[in-house]
């Protein structure tokens, strides 16, 4: 318990940041028309692909076979998430362009 309190107080700024981010996320979505729910979900899906940065770091620091293999797979999967996510979203949104009459 003491450890937890010390941690929270040592990392106040981080905690504040996380809380603000949560509220920001909610604020950003609140008034979105239902038409855009699917593309929005897909866009958010691509953004959490940012996890690939972790994969790049383990790959770049890999010094044994285990880390190299898993790191490589992680980079491939992370890239799939990022690239696939953005391309799919773009294709969906392509459909929303105003058609010329």
């Amino acid at each position: 318990m003491e450890q937890l309190l010390a941690f929270l107080s040592d990392n106040q700024l981080m905690v504040y940041l996380v809380i603000l981010m949560i509220f920001l996320g909610i604020e950003l979505i609140e008034k979105v028309p239902s038409v855009l729910h699917t593309p929005l979900m897909s866009g958010a899906n691509a953004i959490h692909g940012v996890v690939i940065i972790g994969a790049i770091i383990i790959m770049g620091q890999a010094d044994n076979l285990y880390a190299t293999i898993l790191g490589f797979i992680a980079v491939v999967l992370g890239t799939l998430n990022v690239v696939g996510g953005f391309v799919v979203t773009d294709r969906m949104l392509e459909m929303f362009k105003k058609k010329k009459k």
Binding site: I29, P39, L40, G43, A46, G49, I52, I53, F86
Partner: protein, 487 residues
């Protein structure tokens, strides 16, 4: 390895005397984070959505390449550049091909698939980081919070991966719904067991390093069990939820590496995704717990079915339907799940054009949950070049039904069931519906008399104003179009 309790987790990076490279990287991460926020904001408006997606993608690219070339840990830059680029290229080629090749109707499962990849990526990171610790000696020597973050990343990432794969299979109709006896109890129990093991291992109560694989295995099983009993039509909600899970898993990575852009992106998607899930539930008039636990058509549907239907069903021939529509002033098309399944959106647009040539006003009434995901129907119809302003949302089209001559309902059922307004015993009571019964005539295009997703009868079919047109949506619409051209 930076520990979670290390001072670098604070914002005062001055304590570690950063190099120029690190300073530049921090700025790039800042740019990335802002691009994510701005991107999501712009994705919320139809006019700016496409640009928003692009901005987020640029931010992502900046963060990725910044990491490869500028990241330093304890003065050491990243190596293995060939491997990293090989991975990036392989992922980009496969990802682009998959995303470009998928049909518009298959979009939801594609999103689910990519989401699962992100979850797996997060889980793999945890596996490697744990391996680092246990190689350096006893993993229990690490800070408990550091361990806990590794474990949580593994748990959430694995659940998201396994769950997304099942959701993908279900939407692709490769996996059927299955409920085990006492499923909910088993699920909750399993989740608790996983969390207890993760905590125990973090706080030195378990010392066997193989606990990692136990946690991995149990989390994967939980992911499967979590999604298995949920109905196919509820999958969008589940995908949205798993999407926010992966966001949280990415945020765990952000804590692990004290990486702000991972943390920002992860938390942002985590919270936005959770709210999006709730909003989607609301659009379907259901609560999240109801989706996750309840079986929709289960016990309550019996009440709806027991109600005897008055009147009889009247069928209409293709030629009669064509004549009726040709001599109307205004026709409203209500597209539903059946249209998406039959891939009939193109021929539907053709019908609209033929009718317009005859001087008939044609509009589409879009229910918020029509299709397989909110907004999915708009995407499908827009794909077949239906003009955006012909797609009218429920609240705007409802008053117009009174002046409509014919409503053509293609593969929709529950969203036009008047029981939602009139029968308090009905499981869909209270759900906002399209008031098609106000129109002079309705024609329901359906494959059979089978009940809709909610598993209840639809009074509308028995209304004297209604006619049924049985058959596959695509085939029937095609016949209707050629009939219209002939008369």
């Amino acid at each position: 390895m930076q520990s979670i309790l290390n001072s670098t987790i604070l914002l005062d990076t001055a304590a570690v005397a950063p190099t120029v490279k690190q300073n530049i990287l921090n700025i790039l991460y800042m740019f990335g984070s802002i691009s994510f926020i701005y991107g999501i904001k712009m994705l919320g408006k139809p006019e700016t959505a496409k640009r928003g997606n692009l901005i987020a993608a640029v931010g992502m690219a900046v963060a990725i390449f910044g990491t490869i070339f500028l990241y330093e840990n304890e003065g050491k830059a990243l190596g293995n550049h060939i491997w990293i680029f090989a991975g990036l290229i392989v992922g980009t080629v496969i990802g682009t091909l998959m995303a470009k090749k998928v049909k518009m109707t298959g979009m939801p499962q594609m999103v689910s698939f990519f989401n699962g990849m992100g979850g797996a990526c997060a889980a793999l990171i945890s596996l490697v980081e744990f391996n680092h610790l246990s190689h350096a000696g006893n993993f229990n020597d690490a800070e408990p919070l550091h361990l806990l973050i590794i474990f949580l990343g593994l748990v959430i990432g694995s659940i998201s991966f396994a769950g997304s794969m099942i959701a993908f299979g279900k939407l692709d109709e490769k996996i059927k719904d299955k409920t085990l006896p006492l499923q909910q109890v088993v699920n909750i129990g399993l989740l608790l067991v996983i969390l207890v093991i993760a905590f125990a291992a973090s706080f030195d109560m378990i010392t066997n390093p193989n606990v990692l694989f136990l946690i991995l295995g149990l989390s994967l099983i939980y992911g499967v069990l979590f999604v298995m009993p949920i109905g196919g039509a509820d999958m969008p909600v589940v995908i949205s939820l798993l999407n926010s899970f992966t966001g949280v898993a990415a945020a765990m990575g952000g804590f692990l590496y004290d990486n702000k852009v991972m943390l920002f992106g992860g938390i942002l998607v985590g919270s936005a995704g959770t709210l999006l899930t709730v909003v989607m539930c609301k659009a379907m008039n259901r609560s999240l717990t109801n989706v996750l636990i309840g079986n929709f058509g289960g016990s309550k549907a019996a009440a709806g079915e027991a109600k005897s239907m008055n009147g009889s069903i009247r069928e209409v021939s293709i030629s009669d339907a064509a004549v009726l529509m040709k001599y109307s002033k205004k026709v409203v098309i209500v597209p539903g799940y059946g249209l998406a399944v039959a891939q009939a959106q193109h021929v539907c647009h053709e019908l609209e054009q033929v009718l317009e040539q005859e001087g008939v006003e044609v509009k589409y009434a879009i229910h918020p949950v029509a299709g397989r995901m909110p907004g999915h129907m708009n995407v499908l119809l827009a794909e077949s070049n239906v003009s955006y302003d012909k797609l009218v949302e429920m609240d705007d089209i409802n008053p117009e039904f009174k002046t409509t001559d014919v409503v053509l309902i293609v593969g929709a059922n529950d969203v036009v069931n008047p029981a939602a307004k009139t029968d308090p015993a009905s499981p869909i009571y209270g759900m906002p519906i399209l008031d098609v019964e106000d129109a002079a005539h309705t024609i329901v295009m359906k494959r059979s008399m089978k009940a809709g997703y909610a598993g209840i009868e639809n009074e509308l079919f028995y209304s004297p104003k209604n006619r049924m047109l049985f058959g596959d949506a695509k085939k029937t619409l095609t016949e209707l179009v050629s009939e219209l051209k002939n008369i």
